[in-house]
C-alpha cells in the first residue's frame, strides 16, 4: 500500500490502488538478474572481505569473531591516506577533464552535421573497449623520451595517467550526454536567447540543467572507472604514485595479506558508494520533466568554433595513440608491409609452438563474447525494465533507486578482489563450473551488465508514460503493453546494449586473464603474452592483433550507432 500521507485529514479507508498486483510480478522478474549479481559478484567480494576480517586463534583456526585490528593499524599509517588522496585526486582530475572535453564533443557529434561524424563517433568509443595492456604500450610509445611526444616530458607523470584516463573514458561522457542532447528540445534554449541571454548564458541556465541527469550519471561512471583504474596506473605512473586499486593488487597478489587488502577494499567501497550516492542525489535533483523532441541536426558553422576545437582536441587525444599503434603494426623486420597481419593466421608467435595463433584466439574471443552478450542481455533487459517502471508506491521507487546505485558497484570494485573472490568462493563450491570455462563469459557479463543496463535505461525512460496509458485505455493488458509499446523501443536499445556487451567482452582483460584456461586464451590475453616475450615478430603481431581488435570494436560500435533509437522522444506529433 502506498504511504497514507495525504492532504485530507479525514479520508475514507484507502482502497487497493490499481496495479498493486503488478508490483509482485515485477519483483519476480527481478529475482533472476539480482540472484545472478549476488552469486557472481556480491558473494565473491564478500568472501574476500570476510577473509580479511575474520578472527583467527593462535593456531590459525577461525574463531567466528570479527578481527578489525588491521583497520586500526592500516588507517593509522600516513601512507594509507596519501594513497587515498592520490586515488581521489587522479580520479577527480580524470573525471573533470573527461567531462570538460566530452561535453563539447557530445554537442558537436550529436547536434551538428558534418562529413565523417558517424565514423568519428565510433572512433571515440574504441579506446573504451581496448585492453589496457595495449593502450599502455601505445601511450608510452608516444610519450616515452624519443617518442613523437617525448618533448612534453609527460612520460611516467601523473598527468600521463590522467590523460590515459581521459582517453579511455571520454567516450562515456560523449555517449551518455550526447544521447540525451540529441533528443533535447532546442526551443527552450531558443526562448532564453529571445529573452536576451547570450549563447553561453542560455547554455548555462537552460541547456546545462537539462543535461544534468546524464552529466551526473556519466561523471559518476567515469569517476568509478578512474578510481579503479589499474593497468594504466601501473604502466604509465611510477612507483610512489599508487592508488587504492594498485595497493589492493599489491597486498593481495604480492603479499597475500588479505587483512590489509580488506582495509583498502573497504576504503574503495566507501569511495564507490559515496560517488554513487552523490551522483544519485545530483541526478534526482536534476530530474525534471524534460521536453524531448527531434532536434534537427544543423551544419557545423563558425559559431561552433569553440566546441569544434575542443572536439578536435578530444579526437586528437584519442586518435594519436591509436594511429601510433596502427602505423607501427605495418612495420616488421622486413620493412613496411602486411607481414605482421599475415602472421596472425599462421603463427602462434616466435618460439611459441604450443600456443594458439591470434586468429584462433580471436575465434575464442568472439565465441566468449557471444556467450557474455547473451548472458548480459538476459540479466540486463529485466533489470532495465524494472528500473524504468513508473511505480506508484514510494517503497518501490526507493527500491528502484537502490538497485540503480548497486548496479554501479561492479564497475568500482577492484577486479583483483573479484578475481580472487571467484577463487575462494565459486571455484571451491562449484568446481564443475570453474572447469567448464563458463566463468570467463560470466565474469565478463558482470562487468558488462552495468553498462548494458545504462544503455537500455535511457531508451526505455524516454517512452512517454502516456503512450502506455493510451495502450491500456485501448484494452491492452500489462503483457501486451510491454510487447507493443516498450518492445519496439527495447529492440533498438537492445541492439546498442548487445553491441556494448560484445565489444566490452572482446576487450576485457582483467577478469579474463584471471580465469581463462592457459591453452584457450582470448585475443587480449594473447596480445599481452606476445608483448611479454622478446622477438620482433611477437611485438609486430601483438600490434597487428591489437589493431584488428580495435577495428572490430569500432565496427561493432558503428553497427550499434545504426541501431540507436531515433523516435525515442515524444508521441511523434
Amino acid at each position: 500500500m502506498p504511504s497514507p500521507a495525504t492532504t485530507t485529514p479525514a479520508r475514507p479507508p484507502r482502497r487497493r490502488p490499481a496495479g498493486a498486483g503488478a508490483g509482485a510480478g515485477w519483483a519476480a522478474a527481478g529475482v533472476v538478474p539480482v540472484a545472478f549479481l549476488l552469486v557472481f559478484f556480491a558473494w565473491p567480494v564478500a568472501a574476500m572481505l570476510w577473509r580479511g576480517v575474520a578472527g583467527v586463534d593462535a593456531a590459525g583456526d577461525p574463531t567466528g569473531a570479527l578481527d578489525l585490528n588491521a583497520f586500526a593499524e592500516v588507517l593509522g599509517r600516513e601512507r594509507t591516506w596519501r594513497i587515498l588522496g592520490q586515488t581521489l585526486g587522479m580520479a577527480a582530475a580524470g573525471t573533470v577533464a573527461s567531462v570538460a572535453l566530452g561535453l563539447p564533443a557530445a554537442f558537436v557529434l550529436h547536434r551538428r552535421a558534418f562529413p565523417g561524424r558517424k565514423l568519428l563517433r565510433a572512433v571515440v568509443l574504441v579506446p573504451f573497449v581496448l585492453p589496457t595492456v595495449v593502450v599502455g604500450v601505445a601511450f608510452r610509445a608516444l610519450l616515452a623520451p624519443g617518442g613523437p611526444f617525448g618533448w612534453t616530458g609527460l612520460d611516467q607523470t601523473t598527468a600521463a595517467v590522467v590523460l590515459a584516463m581521459v582517453f579511455f573514458n571520454v567516450s562515456v561522457v560523449v555517449r551518455q550526454v550526447g544521447a540525451l542532447w540529441s533528443a533535447l528540445d532546442s526551443r527552450q534554449a531558443e526562448a532564453a536567447r529571445t529573452l536576451g541571454a547570450s549563447p553561453a548564458r542560455a547554455f548555462r541556465t537552460v541547456t546545462l540543467p537539462q543535461l544534468a541527469p546524464a552529466l551526473a550519471g556519466a561523471a559518476a561512471l567515469v569517476f568509478l572507472f578512474c578510481a579503479s583504474a589499474f593497468g594504466i596506473v601501473q604502466t604509465l605512473g611510477r612507483p610512489g604514485y599508487g592508488t587504492l586499486e594498485s595497493e589492493i593488487w599489491v597486498q593481495t597478489a604480492v603479499y597475500l595479506d588479505l587483512r590489509t587488502a580488506a582495509v583498502f577494499s573497504t576504503l574503495q567501497l566507501a569511495v564507490v558508494l559515496a560517488a554513487v550516492a552523490l551522483s544519485g542525489v545530483t541526478a534526482a535533483r536534476a530530474r525534471r520533466a524534460l521536453r524531448l523532441g527531434t532536434a534537427p541536426l544543423r551544419p557545423l558553422t563558425r559559431a561552433d568554433a569553440l566546441p569544434a576545437a575542443a572536439t578536435a582536441l578530444t579526437g586528437a587525444l584519442v586518435l594519436a595513440p591509436l594511429a601510433a599503434l596502427v602505423i607501427r603494426s605495418f612495420r616488421s623486420p622486413e620493412g613496411w608491409g602486411l607481414r605482421n597481419y599475415a602472421l596472425l593466421a599462421t603463427s602462434p608467435g616466435t618460439g611459441f609452438a604450443g600456443g594458439v595463433t591470434p586468429l584462433e584466439a580471436l575465434e575464442q574471443s568472439a565465441r566468449t563474447a557471444l556467450d557474455a552478450t547473451v548472458l548480459t542481455l538476459a540479466v540486463s533487459v529485466p533489470l532495465a525494465l524494472l528500473l524504468t517502471r513508473p511505480f506508484r508506491s514510494g517503497a518501490a521507487r526507493t527500491a528502484q533507486r537502490a538497485l540503480d546505485g548497486a548496479l554501479l558497484l561492479p564497475l568500482g570494485v577492484s577486479a583483483v578482489t573479484v578475481g580472487f573472490g571467484f577463487v575462494v568462493s565459486l571455484r571451491v563450491q562449484v568446481p564443475e563450473l570453474a572447469a567448464s570455462g563458463a566463468l570467463v563469459p560470466i565474469a565478463q557479463a558482470v562487468v558488462a551488465v552495468p553498462l548494458a543496463v545504462r544503455a537500455l535505461v535511457p531508451v526505455l525512460a524516454a517512452v512517454d508514460p502516456r503512450l502506455r496509458e493510451a495502450a491500456r485505455t485501448l484494452g491492452a493488458g500489462p503483457a501486451r503493453v510491454l510487447a507493443t509499446v516498450d518492445g519496439p523501443f527495447l529492440l533498438r536499445g537492445v541492439g546498442l546494449a548487445a553491441g556494448f556487451a560484445f565489444a566490452v567482452s572482446l576487450g576485457e582483460f582483467g577478469a579474463t586473464s584471471f580465469l581463462a584456461a592457459a591453452d584457450r586464451p582470448t585475443l587480449p590475453v594473447l596480445i599481452a603474452r606476445l608483448l611479454g616475450r622478446p622477438g620482433a615478430d611477437n611485438y609486430g603481431m601483438a600490434l597487428a592483433a591489437a589493431t584488428v581488435l580495435a577495428v572490430l570494436s569500432a565496427g561493432v560500435m558503428l553497427a550499434c550507432e545504426r541501431l540507436r533509437p531515433r523516435e525515442a522522444g515524444s508521441g511523434g506529433i
Binding site: Q234, D257, F352, G355, V356, A372, L531, Y539
Partner: protein
C-alpha cells in the same frame, strides 16, 4: 549437513541455467583449434587424445594449475593422455605469483591436482605451508638433483635474469659498455638503465634477491638508491621495459641497458648479456596436498621431465630445460647460453624475508621518486 548440499544444488542449478543461456559454444570448443587438445571440456580432450588408437585405459581427468606461459606442442600432450590414460585439464590464473596465491588461498579445498610454474623462492613457501604433497620422480636428471625442494617440488626448467645491453648504442655514443653489476650504480650508467619493479614483476624480484646476495643485508639499499637517484627508469612490467624503453627492443627506446633474461639475445642477436649481473630462476612442478587425483598429478610431473618435453621447453616457454643432457636449439647455443657462476641467493632465506624486503624497497623507491 543438509544446508551446504542445498546451497550447492542451488548453485549448480544456477550455473546450469547460465550455461544453458550461453548456448553450446562454451561447452564445445571447436575441434579445429589447437586449443582443444588440453581443452577444459573433458570430452574435447578425450576426443583429441584418441586420434590414432584408443587410450590404454580411461582414468579420468587430471587438473593442473599453471602459469599463463604454459604451452607445449599438441602432439606431446596427446601422447601424455594416450600413454597415461588421464585427460589433461589446465587452468591458468595468471603469472607465477598468481598461481602460488591461488594454491595458498584454496589450500584446504584444492581446486587442482598438481601445480606447475612455481618459482624457486615460492617453492619453499608452498613446502613450508604444506600445500604440496611429498613426491619426487624416480628418474630425476642428474642436473636437477640439487634443485629439488623439500622432496615435494620438482625442478622442470630454469633460466637466468640478466641485464641486457645494446652494444650498437654504446659504439655510436662512444661510451664503454658496463661489464659488472656494480658499475650500474654509477650515474653514467644508472641513467642509461631500465629496470622493472620487484613488486610487480618477476625479473625485478630476482634482481632484488641477487642484490641482497651480492651486497648483503645492509648493502643492497645503497645499490638501489644510487641506481634510482642516478636516473634509472622503473617500469611495471618486462614488456614496458624491453619493448618501450630498451634501445635494442622493438620500441627503439632511450635506454641501452635493460633488465631481462639470458635467453633474450636468442631472439635479438644484436643485443648482449651483462654476464656479471645474471641470477638463476628455476620453475617447479608438484602434487598438491589433498588432491583428488594425486596419481595423475605425479604422472604429469614425470611427463614434464621426459626428454621430448625438456627439448620442447626453449621453443614453447622460453626457458632452459633443467636436464642439461638435452640439447638446446642452435640459436640458443650460439646467442644465449646460460652464464657460468651466476649470483645465487638462498631461495629459502630470501622467501622468508621477501615481504619485508619488498616493503623496504617500496619505501625507498617512493622516497626517491617522490622527492
Amino acid at each position: 549437513m543438509s544446508r551446504p548440499v542445498r546451497i550447492r544444488t542451488g548453485l549448480a542449478a544456477l550455473s546450469l541455467a547460465a550455461l544453458a543461456l550461453t548456448g553450446c559454444s562454451v561447452s564445445a570448443p571447436s575441434g579445429g583449434s589447437a586449443s582443444s587438445t588440453a581443452g577444459s571440456s573433458p570430452a574435447a580432450g578425450a576426443a583429441s587424445g584418441s586420434g590414432s588408437s584408443a587410450p590404454a585405459q580411461d582414468k579420468g581427468t587430471v587438473t593442473i594449475l599453471t602459469h599463463d606461459s604454459f604451452a607445449l606442442p599438441d602432439d606431446l600432450i596427446a601422447r601424455f593422455e594416450q600413454e597415461s590414460g588421464y585427460t589433461l585439464v589446465t587452468t591458468a590464473p595468471g603469472d607465477a605469483g598468481a598461481v602460488v596465491n591461488q594454491v595458498l588461498l584454496s589450500k584446504d579445498a584444492p581446486v587442482a591436482d598438481g601445480v606447475y610454474g612455481v618459482e624457486d623462492h615460492s617453492a619453499h613457501r608452498l613446502v613450508g605451508q604444506e600445500a604440496v604433497a611429498p613426491f619426487t620422480p624416480a628418474d630425476l636428471p642428474a642436473s636437477a638433483q640439487d634443485l629439488v625442494v623439500g622432496d615435494a617440488m620438482t625442478p622442470v626448467d630454469r633460466g637466468q635474469v640478466c641485464f641486457n645491453t645494446d652494444p650498437a648504442w654504446f659504439e655510436e655514443n662512444g661510451v664503454a659498455e658496463p661489464t659488472d653489476l656494480d658499475q650500474l650504480r654509477e650515474p653514467q650508467y644508472a641513467e642509461l638503465t631500465a629496470v622493472t619493479s620487484p613488486v610487480t614483476s618477476s625479473p625485478g624480484l630476482a634482481l632484488l634477491a641477487a642484490t641482497t646476495a651480492e651486497y648483503g643485508e645492509d648493502g643492497w639499499q645503497g645499490w638501489w638508491r644510487d641506481l634510482l637517484e642516478g636516473g634509472a627508469k622503473v617500469d611495471a612490467s618486462w614488456s614496458d621495459a624491453y619493448a618501450v624503453d630498451f634501445s635494442g627492443g622493438e620500441g627503439k627506446g632511450e635506454f641501452p641497458i635493460v633488465l631481462s633474461y639470458s635467453s633474450s639475445p636468442a631472439f635479438a642477436p644484436e643485443t648482449a648479456v651483462l654476464e656479471d649481473s645474471c641470477t638463476p630462476q628455476v620453475e617447479y612442478a608438484g602434487v598438491l596436498a589433498g588432491a583428488e587425483n594425486p596419481e595423475g598429478a605425479q604422472a604429469f610431473v614425470e611427463f614434464m621431465l621426459t626428454e621430448d618435453v625438456q627439448a620442447a621447453i626453449p621453443d614453447t616457454m622460453y626457458m632452459y630445460p633443467v636436464d642439461d643432457a638435452v640439447a638446446l636449439p642452435a640459436e640458443w647455443e650460439q646467442n644465449a647460453p646460460l652464464v657460468e657462476d651466476p649470483i645465487t641467493p638462498d631461495p629459502a632465506a630470501f622467501d622468508a624475508r621477501r615481504e619485508e624486503l619488498l616493503k623496504e624497497w617500496t619505501a625507498l623507491a617512493e622516497e626517491v621518486q617522490g622527492s
